[in-house]
C-alpha cells in the first residue's frame, strides 16, 4: 500500500512524498514506515508508543479512529494519509 507523507514530515522520510510498504493492517504499514525511516517515529508516536493526538491517519477517505484504528485491515492499492491537525486562535 502507499503511505502519503505530509510536507512537514518529508525531511524525516528521505524527502519522499509517498512510500510503498507491504502491510496487512494500518499498524503494520506505520511500523514498516518507521522501520524504514526511524526519524519519523518521534513525530508520529508519543513516549508511551501511542500515535500522537494531533496526528490524523486516514485510510483512503476514512479516519482510522472510526475504523479499527491500527488493527484496521488494508489491501493492495489502499492509500494511507498522514494529516497533522491545524488549529489555533488568538
Amino acid at each position: 500500500m502507499t503511505v502519503h507523507i505530509p510536507t512537514p514530515l518529508r525531511p524525516y522520510a528521505g524527502k519522499e512524498a509517498a512510500i510503498d510498504v507491504p502491510a496487512a493492517t494500518v499498524g503494520e504499514a506505520l511500523s514498516r514506515l518507521v522501520e524504514r525511516h526511524p526519524d519519523l517515529r518521534r513525530h508520529l508516536y508519543g513516549e508511551e508508543g501511542k500515535l500522537r493526538s494531533f496526528v490524523n491517519v486516514y485510510l483512503n477517505d476514512e479516519d482510522v479512529r472510526y475504523l479499527q484504528r491500527e488493527a484496521t485491515p488494508v489491501k493492495e492499492g489502499d492509500a494511507l494519509s498522514i494529516v497533522p491537525s491545524i488549529a489555533g486562535g488568538r
Binding site: H4, P6, T7, P8, P11, A17, R42, H43, R52, F54, V55, N56, Y58, D61, D63, S81, V83, P84, S85, I86, A87, G88, G89, R90
Partner: protein, 146 residues
C-alpha cells in the same frame, strides 16, 4: 520566506474581512524552493470548524486537509502553509496558535482584522525539529506574481 501570488494574498485578507467577527482560515498550496522559501501559488478557503467559539479559535477539518492535499498532488502542489485571522487582535501568533501548530517548516499567515477591516498581515514559519523545540519565527512576505 513566503513568496505569495498577490491575488492569493488579497484573497486571504478579504476572507478575514468576510468572516469577521469570526476567525477565517485556509490552506496555501504551492512548493518549497531550494532556498527553503515557500511559494504559495494558490489558496483554498476552509470552514472554521470551531463553531463553539469562532471569534477566537479556528480548526480545519482534517478531512478538508486530506482533500486539499489530494487536489494539490494532482496539480503538482503541496501544502506549504496556512492562514487565519485575528479579529480585533494583533497579527502575532498566540500561545494557542503555537500549541496547536504541528506543520513544522510551513508558513502560518495571520491577518489582524479590526472592526471588519483587514489591517496588518504577517507570516511566521514554524521552526524547530520537533514538538519540544518548535517556535514561530517572523518571515518576510514577498509578492511574486504567477
Amino acid at each position: 520566506m513566503l513568496r505569495i501570488d498577490p491575488a492569493a494574498y488579497e484573497e486571504l485578507r478579504r476572507h478575514g474581512e468576510e468572516a469577521y467577527p469570526h476567525e477565517s482560515c485556509g490552506v496555501l498550496l504551492g512548493r518549497v524552493e531550494d532556498d527553503e522559501a515557500r511559494v504559495a501559488a494558490a489558496l483554498v478557503r476552509c470552514a472554521n470548524g470551531r463553531t463553539d467559539t469562532p471569534e477566537n479559535r479556528y480548526h480545519i477539518d482534517p478531512k478538508d486537509l486530506l482533500r486539499i492535499q489530494r487536489q494539490g498532488r494532482e496539480r503538482g502542489q503541496d501544502i506549504v502553509g496556512f492562514y487565519h485571522s485575528h479579529p480585533d487582535h494583533p497579527a502575532r501568533p498566540s500561545g494557542t496558535d503555537l500549541a496547536e501548530a504541528h506543520w513544522l517548516g510551513c508558513s502560518y499567515v495571520i491577518t489582524r482584522v479590526a472592526r471588519g477591516r483587514a489591517e496588518a498581515t504577517a507570516s511566521f514559519v514554524l521552526a524547530g525539529g520537533n514538538e519540544q523545540e518548535k517556535r514561530f519565527l517572523d518571515e518576510e512576505i514577498q509578492m511574486v506574481p504567477p
